[in-house]
Symmetry: C2
Subunit: 323 residues, 2 copies
């Protein structure tokens, strides 16, 4: 047993945002891969296809026709997991059988009229329109709901069969588990250390640099020290920002809103999580299965190794072919 090397020696790391641990066993990357190989993402997506319910002019499941939209387009999910008017469950008759009401709305938001684009292939102005729309929805839905979750399921591996660039926005009358967890840990950190957890963390990562993927005057992207997914990243603002709508012109967020709009949230820091399902390449995924589901998350390379690989990627997106 020599001296400790994170890339050689398994260890556990603490996730202060979730108050749990991840097992890091980087030597596992040395094993030969005999497992499943996935189909690469579809490359020949037609720009416009009227049979795709997300395209301008297409007919949706409920019979409505999409407008000829030119930047973003938001509509109500036809099969929403959250609806505004579900009745209250019956009073609980036992502490092991507890139910509570869940109300909310689920919206779908197209990023662009073309199906053959994804966010990184869009122009800055087009991306800015998306961020402005997110902030608008955060204000609109946040007026009555305590939580507005914006998320994108991207690619077939993440259960998304529609290549058209889009995300979902689910607002709920409850703080979901993850938000509750992050609310508790961030609140405690501010109490104990007098500085918001993710602000302190961003400052340290900006100095240490080994987990930094990319940075500019307003934002940092890091592979967090406690990352679970091989190439998980965390987007963090450099100054304290609680909500999307607080983003300045050179910035733009998703955070506790609604009944919490007035509440003190000096502990909360706007952030975005990216959980790509990949392990070795675009075709070899990480399976979070038995041990992860029953015991604890496990990763096969260190966050520092992942950050290094991400930094080494070309600036240009792989689908922008050199001319």
């Amino acid at each position: 047993v020599g001296s400790f090397q994170p890339s050689e020696h398994q260890h556990v790391r603490y996730n202060p945002l979730r108050d749990d641990w991840v097992l890091v066993s980087a030597h596992r990357m040395r094993r030969p891969w005999q497992g499943q190989v996935e189909k690469p993402p579809q490359e020949d997506v037609p720009r416009c296809d009227l049979s795709n319910p997300l395209c301008p002019g297409a007919v949706r499941a409920n019979g409505e026709v999409n407008p000829q939209y030119t930047n973003t387009f938001v509509f109500d999910n036809d099969f929403p997991a959250l609806q505004p008017d579900a009745p209250e469950p019956d009073a609980c008759n036992h502490p092991l059988f507890r139910a509570a009401s869940a109300r909310g709305v689920c919206k779908v938001m197209c990023f662009h009229p073309w199906s053959d684009l994804t966010l990184p292939l869009m122009s800055l102005a087009e991306i800015r329109a998306v961020i402005d729309k997110w902030a608008e929805l955060a204000v609109e839905l946040g007026a009555s709901y305590p939580w507005v979750q914006i998320f994108e399921n991207k690619g077939a591996m993440m259960g998304c069969s529609n290549p058209h660039p889009h995300c979902q926005v689910w607002a709920s009358n409850f703080l979901p588990n993850e938000a509750q967890l992050e609310d508790r840990t961030q609140r405690q950190h501010l109490q104990e250390r007098g500085v918001p957890l993710l602000l302190e963390y961003a400052q340290l990562e900006a100095q240490r640099k080994e987990r930094l993927v990319v940075e500019n005057a307003d934002w940092l992207v890091v592979v967090p020290y406690w990352a679970v997914w091989p190439f998980q990243t965390l987007l963090l603002p450099r100054r304290q920002v609680c909500r999307l709508q607080e983003l300045s012109d050179s910035e733009r967020d998703s955070a506790p809103t609604g009944p919490r709009l007035g509440a003190d949230c000096g502990h909360w820091q706007l952030h975005a999580h990216y959980y790509p399902p990949l392990l070795r390449s675009a075709a070899v995924r990480k399976f979070m299965v038995g041990y992860e589901m029953l015991a604890q998350a496990q990763r096969d390379l260190t966050p520092e190794q992942a950050a290094e690989r991400l930094r080494a990627l070309p600036e240009e997106h792989y689908r922008v072919r050199p001319r």
Copy 2:
């Protein structure tokens, strides 16, 4: 808005084992399925294939030749996530960058010499040999490790490309997250109510019956009231049992051991979780993706509906063809 119907009206349910919530939106099952369809499991698996490293007589990655085993066969994982001798990480220099040692062992256990079987296709005597071996490993590894996790990743959807029936056994010098959570909640329940959580729960489910899938004199299988995966089930003993090795002849467990062997664990109840990845059929899976990863687990049918469907399945396994 009529009166509350769990199969019609979304709601959240509390998981007392994990101290979190699941969103139940059963009306979502009505939507047409346009998503991904998976390949059915391979049906023509050869009984014996010397190129399969799990078969009797085959050569493994490390060059060893498997014995001509006739029931179970246990060996050390060639690419273990946990090894017995990793050095201690350097002392933490900041509360946001905490690491700790992780030591342990990873074993692979074949259930049977034939590759074309799975547990449900084996004879009772063969299954009993597996359970006895689990208990033996729990004693052996539990002597020095506080946690022994036995798990089976079954099928390609769960990242298992080897059809040979086998499970894994990972023992660690730490209580993994899930075990810590379940240890805390069960301990608290015993304190508050004077009866172990899962014993009280089993008794109630045995009376209520609506989530019961199958039962006998020793065991119950239920779709838990708080199930996350569509057809998740929980196997529970009828009497208090803390560890596998305590199982009587007519029963047999995985629970806190090692340094905890002597500790009071009157709160802990032996149990097994089953998390099948399926939603609608053997070929349509449930994707636990954006909302689930970032906010909260969501399910598309009620646990009661799932239990009803499971109860309605024939006793005989689908691969046992009528002659």
